[in-house]
Amino acid sequence: MTHYLDFEKPLAEIEGKAEELRAMARANKEMDIEKEAAALDRKARDMLADLYKKLTPWRKCQVARHPERPHCRDYIDALFTEYMPLAGDRNFADDHAVLGGVARFDDKPVVVIGHEKGHDTQSRITHNFGMARPEGYRKAVRLMDMADRFGLPVVTLVDTPGAYPGKGAEERGQSEAIARSTEKCLQIGVPLVSVVIGEGGSGGAVAFATANRVAMLEHSVYSVISPEGCASILWKDSEKMREAAEALRLTAQDLLQLGVCDRVIPEPMGGAHRDRKATIDAVGKAIGVMLKDLSAMDGKALVTARRKKFLAMGSKGLAA
């Protein structure tokens, strides 16, 4: 059962009709519906292409949040071998919103860290919808330190609505934990590459994405604030999220122009969730290329280049 987004409703109707026809034909062998069903398929395909050719920024947010989109764990399972999860911040807890550990990528040992949103009610609760607490960032700092010590490249997968706004999280220093994670990203003398696979929500994303190379999936977003949050502050109306999404310039395409994103990874027609395997393969390829790009640089050069990259950010704006 596909989960359709609100703007996909006409598409859902056509695909539903085609499915109905085929169900009827299965029940009654006399019926010849194939021609009709094939026409509906064609129509659906055209409509899908049309819808996704020019997704508005708000629709991209919806696609980026699609519940069937591949999540961190899916990428780890498919792209990494010998993944050994490592847990805990050695202080308070293990935050399940952040996955991380050692593994092999292209047969070479790496450290992989990412936000996990979960895929059903139970796992979403377990992973707190990808909203990390301080322990998640402190675990990431610990893993990055380890990577640095053993000379392992770090791959981060970003997919979070933002850091968790909770009482305990604040008491245990949410802001300090995020600041330390960003700081660590800037310190480690190993290649650091990052892929925004869904939502890059504010400081919670920066804490992992302060990388030598940042790639974004075609319909992923990365923003200082959610469109809903921005709308409620600047428009005093959270229903103005479409306008806010437009104004914030949060799409991979805009961020590429601004130099915040280094490469855009194309998604299958109709979004990552319509062909998870193709999406995961494309992300794997991009990680491989980015790591290869950095492989000749020594630790000092990597740190210097990373700092220079972020210091220079903001020197180019968007075309009018």
Partner: protein
């Protein structure tokens, strides 16, 4: 022992703070409601003499009170692109900027100054909450980087006074990128072996707290300052329960191990003098009414580090 002989901060400073204050105007403390003379307020660095409530203070007024003789040199901040995203909500971003500039008389939300406090050379940078909520955009980032570069060039400690509602949404992702950018600035100081002291003032929230404002060698806050990542309203909406008294206030953070000290603004200058001199391995300060620094000051009043 006359390497330090002089400063007249209290005298000169009161001239500065009084210069535009009408003599007989009253204002109400927004915490206890006491009517206070404007002059009484400015003489007390905008702290209520009745209840101790810390009202906002502009970076310029703060610097006049902080630096010896109220004298500091303003550091030029590189100008960022004015409106990189062509941002428009209900108003255009350039229009909001012009309104803020007109209202505050300042160019942007950050002021960088170099000077001396108790004859201790420092660089200071202060955020202006009255300028678009002190929000962190590219200018604020540039100011912190410029301040750190000055501190490294001169071999001085950096003291940062934060005050912001968070990132400047009108600069979108580029405001978010000030988190890593300012973190690089903090790293420059640390690598140069220079103290970085943060004074958190009301309010310091969002991406500002989650970057340069939480990375100090020493973390000080003004009393009752709201300091948080997510604001109390957002948290209440998320967890649907009432938050405890004083939640996310300076004293609460101190109790939870997130701060070193909570200090009354009127005692802040003396604290900062002692602290910076200790960390810079300088001799103890000499307290008292002394002539203003400048050409007349005797040489060697700021001994180099051993």
């Amino acid at each position: 022992m006359n390497w330090i002989t002089n400063y007249v901060r209290p005298r000169i400073n009161s001239i500065f703070s009084r210069r535009e204050t009408p003599e007989n105007l009253w204002s109400k403390c927004d915490s206890c409601g006491t009517m206070l003379f404007h002059r009484e307020i400015s003489d007390n660095l905008n702290v209520c003499t009745n209840c101790g409530h810390h009202m906002h203070i502009t970076p310029r007024d703060r610097f006049h009170a902080l630096f010896d003789g109220g004298i500091f040199k303003e550091v030029a901040v590189p100008e960022p692109l004015p409106d990189p995203l062509h941002f428009r909500d209900q108003k255009r971003y350039p229009d909001r900027m012009r309104a803020a500039q007109k209202q505050t008389g300042e160019k942007e939300a950050m002021l960088v100054g170099i000077g001396e406090i108790g004859r201790t050379p420092i660089v200071a940078v202060a955020q202006d909450f009255s300028f678009m909520g002190g929000s962190m955009g590219m200018y604020v980032g540039n100011a912190i980087i410029a301040a750190a570069e000055e501190a490294v060039r001169l071999g001085r400690p950096l003291i940062l006074f934060s005050a912001a509602g968070g990132a400047r949404m009108q600069e979108g992702i580029l405001s978010l990128m000030q988190m890593p950018r300012t973190t690089v600035a903090v790293q420059m100081l640390k690598e140069a072996g220079l103290p970085y002291i943060v004074v958190l003032t009301h309010p310091t929230t969002g991406g500002v707290t989650a970057s340069y404002a939480m990375l100090g060698d020493v973390q000080i806050a003004e009393p009752n300052a709201l300091i948080c990542f997510a604001g109390p309203r957002v948290i209440e909406q998320t967890i649907r329960e009432k938050l405890p008294e004083g939640f996310q206030r300076a004293e609460y953070l101190l109790e939870h191990g997130m701060l070193d000290r909570v200090i009354d603004r009127r005692k802040m200058r003396d604290e900062l003098i002692v602290l910076t001199r200790l960390l810079m391995k300088m001799p103890p300060p000499v307290w008292g009414e002394l002539p203003a620094p400048g050409d007349a000051a005797p040489p060697g009043q700021a001994p180099a580090q051993p």
